[in-house]
């Protein structure tokens, strides 16, 4: 049985004054197996975030359903951890208390919370920054804290919506290695949205490509690159072959998006 089943999920945002209704997502189905690392690739505005938000329970689909371990998803919950593209650390809490947030909501004893928080902060390389406030951190450090916050809650699946989108190229590559290292260690099921092809191939066990708006799944490619992967894999012929194929797929969709907007 799949860990996560997305069955015929579609989404139309209703018309508002001055704007027509937006069809963001055509009926979309996707089966995610336990321990999968799936990256979702697609041009801007194709409904990637919408799909992820439906899975998170932050958006109700206009049709279809999402099942996690066979259970229907009705709203947001701690079994689906999320890292957003925007920085969403709580600015009034220290780094450590941000990571403790979900544990505290669960009513866990403070000592236990701290032990878990410190373990995950060490894992994302933020030892020594426990007492900083988010405003004192760089963007990369904030997203690492957000990652630790989501992981500390031990969700069944991790949803990541372009978490490194606002970071510079070098930081971004280091973050990819960090996340991949964490995944290789405990194989948590991951759904990762991006529009960066290298990023998508490097981390994924499967890359799903979405079409231009209204989005639907256009192709689904298994990435058979050995683990553990180092950044050096990005220069291998196998990687280049995946990249060439995906670049072609995405290019067609991006051209469609542009001509649609023209």
């Amino acid at each position: 049985m799949s860990k996560l089943s997305i069955r015929g999920v579609e989404k139309t945002f209703p018309a508002r004054r001055g704007t027509a209704a937006t069809r963001a997502l055509e009926p979309t189905s996707l089966e995610v197996a336990d321990n999968d690392f799936i990256t979702i690739l697609g041009p801007s505005g194709c409904g990637k975030s919408t799909l992820l938000r439906v899975v998170a329970g932050l958006e109700t689909p206009s049709g279809g359903e999402v099942l996690l371990d066979g259970q229907g998803v009705a709203g947001p919950g701690p079994d689906r951890g999320m890292v957003f593209q925007s920085y969403t650390l709580f600015p009034w809490l220290s780094v450590r208390d941000n990571v403790c947030f979900g544990l505290r909501e669960r009513g866990m004893a403070r000592a236990e919370q701290l032990a878990i928080a410190d373990r995950f902060l060490a894992q994302v390389g933020l030892k020594g920054f426990e007492n900083h406030f988010p405003a004192q951190l760089s963007g990369g450090m904030q997203q690492r804290t957000a990652l630790a916050r989501a992981l500390a809650n031990d969700p069944k699946i991790l949803l990541l919506d372009e978490p490194f989108g606002a970071l510079d190229h070098q930081t971004r590559e280091l973050m990819q290695e960090l996340l991949l290292g964490i995944w290789e260690a405990d194989r948590k099921t991951v759904l990762f949205v991006t529009h960066d092809i290298d990023e998508a191939i490097f981390m994924a066990s499967r890359v799903v490509v979405m079409s231009a708006r209204p989005g639907r799944i256009k192709c689904d490619i298994a990435i058979d690159l050995p683990h553990p992967r180092s950044y050096k894999i990005k220069t291998t012929p196998a990687f280049a072959a995946y990249k060439e194929r995906l670049t072609e797929e995405i290019r067609v969709e991006t051209i469609k998006t542009l001509s649609m907007e023209a």
Partner: protein, 262 residues
Amino acid sequence: MPSLFTPLKPVAPTLRTVLAVACFALFFLGWGVATYGGFVKPLFLASPGDTLVAGVALFREFGFAEDIAVTVWRVFAGFAMAAAVAVPLGILMGAFKPVEAFFEGFVSFARYLPASAFIPLLILWAGVGEFQKILVIFIGSVFQLIIMVAVIVAGIRTDLVEAAYTLGAKRKGVVLRVLLPASAPQIFEALRLVLGWAWTYVIVAELVGASRGIGHMIIDAQRFLDTGQMIFGIFVIGLIGLITDFLFQAVNARLFPWARSR
């Protein structure tokens, strides 16, 4: 020199103080020129020196310290009552749209009812004692404060709320541990503003049917055409306002250091 006037560019602390003091100095200079220079008759405007003499006499002979204490107590009692009602209600309105729908219309209507127009009615209901004065301040502040708090809470970033939901927070957790801390610095700022308005209401309340208080002293002084005393009374109000403002800002910086480091 022109670089001093770059938009939003901060000035050095010493220059800041110098400029602030310069403004006061200019004010007193203008006042001195107008009165000592014989441009305005003493009957209409006392000179700075006469005002100071009148002030000393007020404290020495007329027990002005007690007037000040009475007025300060009235302001803080009325203001505390208003805050005790407005802050929780405003938070509920900001957080829960049905509560907002229920109260918003009425509060917006009540907000425009001038507190001073209630004074005759309040005297009828509550007499001319302390409670009536406090009620004037309460009525004058509570509706403004409710609306301000509701707007602040409704404006809290939704992505923070969504992050809290994906970390397992329930409704209560979102209100108490996201909306409340996120809006606290701004609510504090709103309290500071409304406290300033409360001072105008207390003086109006004391102009009618009072036997003590700064406002009463000013009305008394008017009967004897003692402009020195009147001006001194007005200055004392300004001075107390300035002090409370400083206190509020200091406490705000102390309680919410995270809101400053941005």
